[in-house]
Symmetry: C3
Subunit: 270 residues, 3 copies
C-alpha cells in the first residue's frame, strides 16, 4: 500500500471531549459490562483496577477448563500475550474461539509479536479466530503486517509510521486496529480516527497500554461499533492521563491519580 492510500482515507479526531466517547462512557457505567481478561502476570492487578475505576466488571478467568464457558457469557474479552507460556496459550486459543462463536467482541493485544517465534505463532493462531479489535504499539502492528518486531514490549516505531501497516492489518483481518502512541490511530481500513494527548510519562507506568486494550473490550460491549469502542477508550484514557499529570509528581503518583480520574471523568452529553 502506498502512503497516498493512507492520506486518502477520511480522518476524524476524537480527542476528549467528544460526544461519542461521553455517550459510550455513560453506557459503560450504566451496563457495567463483564470483561473477561486473560492477560499477562505483570498487569493483572492494574488492569482490574482500571476496569473497576471506569465502571466495568473485570474477571480474570484463565483455566483451560473455564475460559470457553466464560468467554461466551462475558460482555467482552481481552487476550494479551505478554507473558504467554504453555499453560496459558491453549486457554487463550480456546477463549478466542469461544468468543468468536458466541459473538462476544474480543480484543487481541499481541505484546512483542514478531520478536519471538513462540508468541508469534500463537498470535497467528489467535488471529484465525477473528479478533474484533487489535491493539498494539507501532512495532507490534508492523510485525503483524509482516515487518520486524521491536524489542520486548516497548515500541521502536512511532504510531504514525505504523498507520500504513495498521490499515493493511485491518483490511486483512477484518479487525479494527488501534495503534498506541503520542497520537493513537484507530482504523477499520476505511477510515482513520485519531486521539491525541498521549504522554511519555504514561509509558513509565507498566500496563497502561495493556489496560487500554482491556478497556476497549469493555467499551466493545456497549458501543455502536468496534471503531467507536476503541476510539472512546483511547479518548477517556488520554483525558484521565492528562488530568493525572496535573497532580502527579512522577510515575508513582500518576498511577493512582489516573485511576481516580477514570472513576470521576464525565464529559459533554451527545
Amino acid at each position: 500500500m502506498s502512503s497516498s492510500t493512507v492520506t486518502s482515507l477520511p480522518k476524524t479526531d476524537r480527542s476528549w471531549p467528544n460526544p461519542i466517547a461521553s455517550r459510550d462512557l455513560d453506557a459503560l457505567r450504566a451496563q457495567v459490562p463483564l470483561v473477561h481478561c486473560i492477560t499477562n502476570v505483570v498487569v493483572t492487578n492494574f488492569t482490574a483496577n482500571v476496569l473497576l475505576a471506569i465502571g466495568a466488571s473485570p474477571a480474570m478467568v484463565i483455566a483451560e477448563q473455564e475460559v470457553e464457558a466464560f468467554a461466551a457469557i462475558a460482555g467482552g474479552l481481552l487476550i494479551n500475550i505478554g507473558t504467554i507460556n504453555q499453560i496459558d496459550a491453549p486457554a487463550m486459543v480456546k477463549a478466542a474461539r469461544a468468543a468468536a462463536a458466541a459473538g462476544t467482541p474480543w480484543v487481541l493485544d499481541p505484546v512483542a509479536v514478531g520478536a519471538l517465534p513462540y508468541r508469534t505463532e500463537i498470535a497467528a493462531e489467535l488471529l484465525t479466530h477473528r479478533p474484533t479489535i487489535i491493539r498494539g504499539n507501532g512495532s507490534e502492528i508492523g510485525a503483524l503486517a509482516g515487518g520486524e518486531g521491536g524489542k520486548g514490549a516497548d515500541s521502536t516505531q512511532s504510531s504514525s509510521a505504523a498507520l500504513e501497516a495498521g490499515i493493511e492489518v485491518a483490511r486483512t483481518t477484518g479487525a479494527v486496529v488501534a495503534i498506541s502512541g503520542e497520537v493513537d490511530y484507530i482504523t477499520d481500513g476505511k477510515e482513520v480516527i485519531t486521539v491525541g494527548g498521549g504522554h511519555v510519562m504514561m509509558t513509565r507506568i507498566t500496563g497502561t497500554g495493556c489496560s487500554l486494550g482491556a478497556t476497549m473490550a469493555a467499551f466493545a460491549a456497549v458501543s455502536d461499533s468496534p471503531l467507536d469502542a476503541a476510539a472512546s477508550a483511547s479518548a477517556v484514557f488520554a483525558q484521565a492521563a492528562e488530568l493525572g499529570l496535573q497532580v502527579a509528581s512522577g510515575p508513582g503518583t500518576l498511577a493512582p491519580a489516573f485511576l481516580d480520574n477514570l472513576a470521576s471523568i464525565t464529559g459533554p452529553r451527545a
Copy 2:
C-alpha cells in the same frame, strides 16, 4: 432454614472501635504471624502489601512440591480460587490437607464458586479439608449453600440476604462463615457478628475482599477463636477504609491511604 431461625440467633456488633479487635491487632503485631497465601494472580501484590501493612508476614508459596511443608509451619493459610488452573488446583488441595492435619487455621475464599463447574468441584474438594473460615460475598456463600452463583467475582446478592445461607454453611461445614458487603456478617451457626462500615468505593479496588480473607488467616493465628479472627479482621478493614476515604480522591488514591491506615491504626485497649 426459616428466616425466623436467623432472627432468633444472638447478634453482636463488633464495628470498630471494639476491645476484642484492638487486643487481636496488638497480638498480631506482637507475634507477626507467617501467613501462607495461595491466591489469585490479580491480587497477590495487594494482598502481600495488606499483610505487611497490618503487621503480618506474608509468604506466597505455591509449588505443589512446597505447599505441604509450608502450610504445616505457617501461622495461617489462605486459599483463594480466583484464578485457579490445573497447576494451582492440586497445590491448593495439598495445602488444605496439610493445614488441617497440622492444625494450621486456614481460610477458604471460594471466588465465583457456583458460576463455573471446574472451580465449583475444586471448592467442594477443598471443603472436605475443613476450612477454619470461609469468606465470600453473598453470591458465593449462597452457591455453597446450594444456590446459584453470581457472575464472576462480583456479588449479585446482598450480604444480609445471604446470612441465612451462611448460617447453613457454617453448620454444615463447621467453619466460621464471613459474608462481605455493606455490612459484614460473621457466623459460626450459633451466633452472628455484624461489622458495619463497608463502602462501595472499596469495591472499586480489586483485592479488597481477597486481602480481607488473607487478613483473617493472619488473625486466626493469634485470636482466641475463628469467630474473633474473622470479626477483628473485618473491623480493622472497615475502619482503615473509613479513614482512607477521608483523604482519597477516588479508588486510585484510596488504595495507598487504606494501606497507610492499616499500618497506623490503633484502638482502645481491652
Copy 3:
C-alpha cells in the same frame, strides 16, 4: 573463615551521593537497558514499575520456549525464585544457562533458599550457571553458605552478621554478593562496599528487595563491574526511599513516592 578475615578486607562506603552511582545512573538512563525478568508473581508489577521509573526497559518473558533467545539479547537478566513452581523452574534454568553462554550479566535472587528443599535444589542448579550477582537477605545468603534458611521471604539474620557468609559465597561462586538490610553489604570476596540508609518502612512494602535485584540487573548492563552495578543500585534505592519517607504517611503512600523519586533522582557528576 574467621571474622578477622572479614575485618581485614578493605571497606568502602558508597551511600548516596557518590560519583560512581551518579555516573552509572546517567549511563542507565542513556542506554535504557532491556532487563529480562523471571520473577515471582507477587512483585512483577512493582518490579516493572521500578525499572521503568529508573529508566530501564523491563520485559517479563517467562515461557520455556522463549527465555533462551531473550536472555541472550537482554542487557541483563533477573531470576527470582520467590514463587517458583514446576512451570517456571525449567524456564529459569534455561534462561540462566543461556545468559551465561551469551555473556548476559544475570542476578540470582534466591528467595527463601534453605527453607524448603525444592527451591534449594533449583537454586543449587542455578548457581552452576554462574550468576553475576546474588542478592538476598542475611538468612538467604547464610543458607547459600551452608547455614539454615529463614522463614519465608523475611530475614531472621541481620545483614552485618551475614557478611562473613557473603564473602564465602562470593569466593565459592565467583559472584558479587549483595546482602540487603539496614546497611547493605556488597562484596566480591576481596573488598566490601557498604550502603547505608535502609529503612524498616521499606520492608513493609512487598517487592522492594526483589525489585532491587532487578535494578542490579539493569545496572549490570551499563556499569564498569558487577560490584559497581550492585552498589549503584543499592545507593539509588536507599536515596529514593529516604526522599520518599519525607512525604509518605505510611507504606501505602511510600510506594508511589519511592517510584517518583527513582524517576527524578539526580546526583553529583563524577
